[in-house]
Subunit: 245 residues, 2 copies
DNA sequence: AAATATTTGTCCGTATGTATC
DNA sequence: TGATACATACGGACAAATATT
């Protein structure tokens, strides 16, 4: 007698109320849950799942691609279909595209404002979660920013400090929140800083040195493990620009 | 001579760095954006898009299903592929399921925490943006919440105040930020409050009356156009639960 | 290092179901 | 009712990437 054990995919050719690929999508998700698959674990192969579920490879792939785009799995040729660590990238970009298109400059402002509110709102949790290694990493990133600025000064080119500086800036902020106990918050921060890279290209020398100072203050406060100073430094970082306009 | 006009799908057989169906997915999204397609509008048929993009039906369908599951389009046999009003249901449940080792309750906490930070971070902008009509709407929603609570008291059933109460609660908060000048912020708020409907099902009578009080304070402050009181009421709303644990 | 097997990627053809006119 | 247009679903075939022996 065929019993439905904990970990099986049930065939699903009844229940015609929903689209087949959606039922497959749901079925695989509950399969992941029931079997407690974790990031890095593999799903059965496409053909195996086709047989288990009694559907064509085409439909199964529609479901797999849907799982992939929602950040649940990643499929690699020659390897298989792997469970992914949580990643909200597509989730966030959908969100971004869900409102009527504005100018890019406006979207950039929206993001800057949100980043300000989020980062300031999570200062306490960030401070509590940062490890020694994190703080050392922040020091390194600060050093990278300084190096970029020097290189620029010697080269003589007035603007266009380039991607490396912006990357270090983004990495600095991502590191600040990397160990926070709210993974959703970290996803959002990561996404917002990824978006930014398209813009932070040209800056004046003054802006560069101000940016460095802002991050120096943050780093020093953390090095001293001084929460109040950290809070002030974060406020300085975001408010010095914000209230200028 | 073939010029690339504003609204066309470009063939994309170069750029082998990403999976084909992902490039199709992105291409269709920018097509929607460029042509400013709105909910209810139709995309070209599958076959037409296959020809335009130079891809097989199979790959195109993988992209379409991904667009469907991310809430961007809905395809119906005999009709075509329609642009949808943004709907985050599948994303919500994706979020829910993509935290492997963590409970639903934890995801709920993440969202509550984010909502707290965002709403408190935008109190000033919300206050500035609210119109007379908005405030009247808030009054109506508050009235609805009261009505739900009364009905519950008379019915005698101890728990399960039901969806209408939660809907009014969500609508109240969405209204607060509906005219804010940061549309991305509003999208996120709307998104997070949509998620809530999966949870806000059972509550104790005490929690209900506390919820009503919280929203009364907010409404009264706004009716009086008192910013400080509004700020206090919002703080009360979020902190009364937050610091309990 | 090289050959082979495994697994996903991409394409094609065909039949069925469903909505519209 | 019938005809048409469209998405849904199936099956088979070969290519490309990776792993294994």
């Amino acid at each position: 007698m065929e019993t439905t054990q904990k970990g099986n995919l049930r065939t699903l050719h009844n229940l015609k109320d929903q689209k087949l690929y959606i039922r497959v999508y749901d079925e695989i998700r509950t399969y992941i849950e029931k079997n407690q698959l974790k990031p890095g674990d593999k799903l059965p192969t496409e053909m195996e799942m086709c047989q288990m579920l009694g559907v064509s490879r085409n439909v199964l792939r529609e479901a797999i691609k849907s799982l992939e785009i929602t950040g649940i799995v990643a499929s690699k040729p020659g390897v298989g279909i792997l469970i992914r660590d949580f990643n909200a990238d597509y989730f966030m970009s959908s969100l971004l595209h869900s409102f009527p298109a504005q100018s890019d400059r406006q979207v950039e402002q929206y993001i800057e404002e949100l980043r300000r509110v989020l980062e300031l709102g999570f200062v306490d949790k960030a401070f509590a979660s940062l490890t020694e290694e994190d703080i050392d990493m922040l020091g390194e990133l600060l050093e990278q920013m300084r190096a970029c600025a020097q290189k620029q000064e010697h080269s003589g080119k007035p603007l266009q400090i380039g991607a490396p500086f912006a990357r270090a800036d983004a990495a600095f902020h991502k590191t600040l929140f990397s160990h926070i106990d709210n993974k959703l918050m970290f996803s959002i921060i990561r996404f917002f800083w990824a978006y930014d890279k398209y813009y932070k290209e040209q800056t004046t020398p003054d802006a560069v040195s101000l940016t460095i100072e802002k991050h120096e203050r943050i780093y020093m406060a953390l090095k001293a493990r001084d929460f109040t100073a950290f809070q002030d430094a974060m406020q300085f970082h975001f408010n010095v620009d914000y209230y200028k306009k």
